[in-house]
C-alpha cells in the first residue's frame, strides 16, 4: 500500500461527475450506485450491531447462571439480535446493496426502471429501521418475543412490540418496492443482445428473489397488521378464549418468513455463481440449470413453510405433506452445489480473498443445508426442535451462507466502485480466522442441540457448560477475524492504491465499464455479443 493519504476518488466517476458531492447529493440521489452504497453502509452497520449483540449473548451463555445480564435483558437481546440481523441486515443486504450496485450494470442499463421509487425504497428502509430502533428505548422497553413475534405472548407482553412490528411493516414495504423495481428492470431494460440466456447468474438470482419479495412480503405485512390489531383493538383473531387459533398466526408468519429465507440465500447463491467461474477461469458449468434452479428454489420454497410448525399442534397430515415438500427444495439446492463443484474441476483456480469466501460458502452452506434435512424430516425434527441445533443450522445457512457470500461480494465488487485495492494478505488472514471461529462456534451449537440444550434459554444444566465455553471462544475468534477484515477492506477502499480496468478478469458487463463507473454507467450503449462467463477475450489487468 503506497499512498495512505486520503485522496479524491478518481475523476469522471459517479463519485463526482455530476459535480455534486455533498451529503444531500447522496441521500436524495436516484443513482443506483449511490443508493447501493447507502444501503451497503447502513445494512453493514446493522450487521456489526447484530454481531455485537450476538457476542454479548455468547458471553452470557459462557457459564451457567447469571454471567453479565439478567433474564429479561437476555430475552430482549436475542429478540433484537434476530430482528436487526434478519429484517435490517440480511433481507435488504444483498438486493439493496449489491443488487443496486451491480445488477443494472450487469443487464446493460443506465439505472433501474424506477430510480425515484428506488430512492423511496431506501428511505422507507431507513424510516422503518429508525422506528424499530425507537421501539427498543421507548414504551415498555425492547420486545422480548423473539424475532418471530409468536402469539399469544406477543399480544400480551408489556414490551414495545407494536412499534417494533410497525417498523418491520415499513421495512417490508421497502422490500416489496425493491422487488417491483428489479423485476421491471430485468424485463424492460436489458441492453441490446442481452438475452435471458446471457444474464449473469447473480441477476438471475435477483430476479427469482424479487418475485419472492413481491408475492410473499404482503403476507408478512398483513400478519404484522394483525398483531397490531390484536394488541391495540383486541380483535382476538389468535386468542383461543375468543375463538381464535394461535396456530393460524404461525401459518401466516411462516408463509412469508420461510420464503424470506430464500430472499436471503438466493442472491447469495447468485454471488457465488458469478465469482467461481471468474476465479477458475472457466465458463460456469450448467448455466441453464443454475438459472432454472434459482426459479425452482423460489417456487418450491413457497410450499414448505409448515416445517417450522411440526410441534405446534398442526394436523399430522399437514406435517407429512410439508415434510415431503421440504425435501423437494434439496434438489435445486444440490443442483447448484454440484454445478459449482463441476465448474472448479480442471479450472485454473486462483485462491484470492473473494474465492476463499466463495469456496467456504459451498462448504458451510452444505453443512447448513444437510442439517436442514434433519430438521425437515418430521421424526427427527420433533427431537431437536427449538434446540441449539436449530440455531446452529440457520447460522450455517444464513451466516456461513449469506454472510460469507456478502464478504465475498465486498472483496469482489467494492474495489470496482471505489477504484482502489485492499491488501490481499490481511484479507486472507481475516478469512482464515473467521472460517475457523465460525465452525468452532456453530458446530458446537449443533452438538449442544443434539445433546438437548434448548434455544432461547437464559440458563442451562451444568453438563452443557464446557461446550458453551468452547462456542463462546469460537465467537471471539470469529469477531477477531471480522475486525481484521473490516479494517483492511475499508482502509484499502478509502486509501488504497488506485487501479483501473478489470482486476479479476471478469467477463460480465460490470467489468467493461470504467473504474469507478460514471453516473450513467456506460459511455456508449452496450451491445452484448457473448455470455457472461466467456473469458476468451478478457484478461486480468
Amino acid at each position: 500500500m503506497d499512498s495512505l493519504e486520503p485522496t479524491q476518488p478518481l475523476n469522471n466517476s459517479f463519485w463526482n461527475d455530476t459535480g455534486k458531492t455533498g451529503i444531500t447529493s447522496w441521500i436524495f440521489s436516484t443513482d443506483h450506485k449511490r443508493i447501493g452504497l447507502l444501503y451497503f453502509y447502513v445494512t453493514f452497520g446493522f450487521f456489526l450491531t447484530g454481531v455485537l449483540l450476538g457476542l454479548l449473548l455468547r458471553i452470557e451463555l459462557m457459564a451457567p447462571g447469571r454471567t453479565i445480564m439478567g433474564p429479561q435483558t437476555y430475552n430482549a437481546l436475542f429478540t433484537v439480535h434476530g430482528v436487526v440481523m434478519i429484517f435490517l441486515f440480511i433481507i435488504p443486504g444483498i438486493p439493496g446493496a449489491f443488487g443496486n450496485l451491480v445488477m443494472p450494470i450487469q443487464v446493460g442499463a443506465r439505472d433501474v426502471a424506477f430510480p425515484r421509487l428506488n430512492l423511496l425504497s431506501w428511505w422507507l428502509y431507513i424510516i422503518g429501521a429508525l422506528i424499530v430502533l425507537t421501539s427498543l428505548f421507548s414504551g415498555g422497553g425492547a420486545p422480548d418475543t423473539g424475532w418471530t413475534f409468536y402469539v399469544p405472548f406477543s399480544s400480551r407482553t408489556g414490551t414495545n412490540v407494536s412499534l417494533a412490528v410497525f417498523g418491520v411493516f415499513i421495512v417490508g414495504f421497502s422490500s416489496i418496492l425493491t422487488g417491483v423495481n428489479f423485476v421491471t428492470t430485468i424485463h424492460r431494460l436489458r441492453a441490446e443482445g442481452m438475452s435471458w440466456g446471457r444474464l449473469p447468474l447473480f441477476t438471475w438470482s435477483l430476479y427469482a428473489t424479487a418475485w419472492v419479495q413481491i408475492l410473499a412480503t404482503p403476507i408478512l405485512a398483513i400478519t404484522l397488521v394483525l398483531i397490531m390489531a390484536e394488541r391495540l383493538l383486541g380483535t382476538g383473531l389468535f386468542d383461543p378464549s375468543r375463538g381464535g387459533d394461535p396456530v393460524m398466526y404461525q401459518h401466516l408468519f411462516w408463509i412469508y418468513s420461510h420464503p424470506a429465507v430464500y430472499i436471503m440465500i438466493l442472491p447469495a447463491m447468485g454471488i457465488i455463481s458469478d465469482i467461481i467461474p471468474v476465479f477458475s477461469r472457466k465458463p460456469i458449468f450448467g448455466y441453464k440449470m443454475i438459472a432454472f434452479s434459482s426459479i425452482a428454489i423460489a417456487a418450491a420454497g413457497s410450499l414448505v413453510w409448515g416445517h417450522h410448525m411440526f410441534t405446534s399442534g398442526m394436523s399430522d397430515t399437514a406435517v407429512m405433506v410439508f415434510s415431503f415438500l421440504t425435501f423437494i427444495v434439496a434438489i435445486p439446492s444440490a443442483i447448484k452445489v454440484f454445478n459449482w463443484i463441476s465448474t472448479l474441476y480442471k479450472g485454473s483456480i486462483s485462491l484470492e480473498a473473494p474465492m476463499l469466501f466463495a469456496l467456504s460458502f459451498i462448504l458451510l452452506f452444505s453443512i447448513g443445508g444437510l442439517s436442514g434435512l434433519i430438521l425437515g424430516a418430521a421424526a427427527t425434527d420433533v427431537h431437536v426442535h427449538d434446540t441449539h441445533f436449530v440455531v446452529g443450522h440457520f447460522h450455517y445457512v444464513m451466516f456461513g451462507g449469506t454472510g460469507f457470500a456478502i464478504f465475498a461480494a465486498m472483496h469482489y465488487w467494492l474495489p470496482k466502485f471505489y477504484g482502489r485495492r485492499y491488501a490481499e494478505k490481511p484479507a486472507v488472514v481475516a478469512w482464515a480466522l473467521m472460517f475457523t471461529g465460525f465452525n468452532v462456534l456453530y458446530f458446537t451449537m449443533q452438538v449442544l442441540g443434539m445433546k438437548g440444550m434448548p434455544r432461547r434459554y437464559y440458563d442451562y444444566l451444568p453438563e452443557f457448560a464446557n461446550l458453551n465455553l468452547v462456542a463462546t471462544i469460537g465467537s471471539w475468534i470469529l469477531a477477531a477475524g471480522l475486525v481484521i477484515m473490516v479494517v483492511n477492506l475499508f482502509r484499502g477502499l478509502w486509501w488504497g492504491v488506485p487501479f483501473e480496468g478489470n482486476p479479476w478478469g471478469g467477463a460480465s458487463l460490470e467489468w467493461t465499464v470504467p473504474t469507478p463507473p460514471p453516473t450513467e454507467n456506460f459511455i456508449e450503449e452496450p451491445v452484448v455479443t457473448h455470455g457472461p462467463y466467456d473469458f476468451s477475450n478478457t484478461e486480468r489487468s
Binding site: 439505472d111 424506477f114 423485476v183 431494460l189 408475492l215 397488521v225 382476538g236 383473531l237 375463538g243 401466516l252
Partner: protein, 200 residues
C-alpha cells in the same frame, strides 16, 4: 453525457401490475383467515352475516362498480384527447368514492352503536365465532376503506395533473396506472361483498 429522459410506459404498467399483485396477496391473507374460520364456525358466521345490512352492502357494490366504469371511461376520454370529459369522469369517480365512504360510515356507526366492534363487551359475551366474524369484517372493510381513500386521493392528484396538462392524450400512463389501482379496489370489494354480507 446527457441522455434523453428515460420513458417506458410498458415498464411503468408492468411495475403497477406487480404492485397490484402485492395488494392482492395482502388481502389474500385476510381471505385465508376468513376461509379457515368459516370452516370452523359456519353457524356463527351465518348469524354474524345476517346482522350486516345487505341493502347498504349492495348499494355500495353498485356505487363502486359505477366508479370503476367512470375511471375506465376517463382513460378512454383522455386517450381521445377529451381532457374536460376525462376530468369530469374522474370527478364522478371521486364522488362515488365519497358516497361509498359515507355509507360505510353509516354502517360502521350503526354496528358500533349496537356494541359490535373488535374487543367489545357484547362480542366477548357472545359465541366465540361471532367475535371472529366481526373482527374480520372490521379489519377487511377497514383496510379496504383505507384503499378507497388512497385511491381517491391518487385520482384527485391525477385530475390536477390533467388540468395542468402534464398528463394528456399523449402521456396518459399515470391515469392508466391510477385507474388500475382503482379497479383493484373494486375487485377486492367484489369478493368482500358476498363473503360478508350475503353468504349466510
Amino acid at each position: 453525457m446527457s441522455h434523453p429522459e428515460h420513458k417506458d410506459d410498458i415498464g411503468a404498467k408492468l411495475g403497477m401490475w406487480l404492485f397490484l399483485f402485492t395488494e392482492l396477496l395482502l388481502f389474500g391473507g385476510l381471505f385465508l383467515l376468513y376461509a379457515v374460520y368459516l370452516k370452523r364456525y359456519p353457524h356463527e358466521f351465518a348469524t354474524g352475516g345476517t346482522q350486516l345490512n345487505w341493502v347498504l352492502g349492495s348499494a355500495n357494490t353498485a356505487i363502486l362498480l359505477t366508479s370503476s366504469l367512470c375511471a375506465a371511461m376517463a382513460l378512454t376520454a383522455l386517450q381521445r384527447h377529451e381532457m374536460r370529459r376525462a376530468m369530469a369522469l374522474l370527478g364522478a369517480t371521486i364522488f362515488c368514492a365519497a358516497g361509498f365512504m359515507v355509507i360505510k360510515y353509516v354502517e360502521w356507526s350503526a354496528k358500533i352503536g349496537h356494541g359490535i366492534y373488535p374487543g367489545s363487551e357484547h362480542l366477548k359475551a357472545g359465541p366465540p365465532g361471532e367475535s371472529i366474524f366481526f373482527s374480520l369484517y372490521f379489519l377487511s372493510t377497514g383496510i379496504h376503506g383505507l384503499h378507497v381513500l388512497i385511491g381517491a386521493i391518487l385520482l384527485a392528484w391525477i385530475t390536477v395533473k390533467i388540468k395542468s396538462g402534464e398528463v394528456n392524450g399523449d402521456n396518459y400512463i399515470l391515469l392508466e396506472n391510477g385507474a388500475l389501482y382503482w379497479h383493484l379496489v373494486d375487485l377486492i370489494w367484489i369478493f368482500i361483498f358476498p363473503l360478508y354480507y350475503l353468504i349466510l
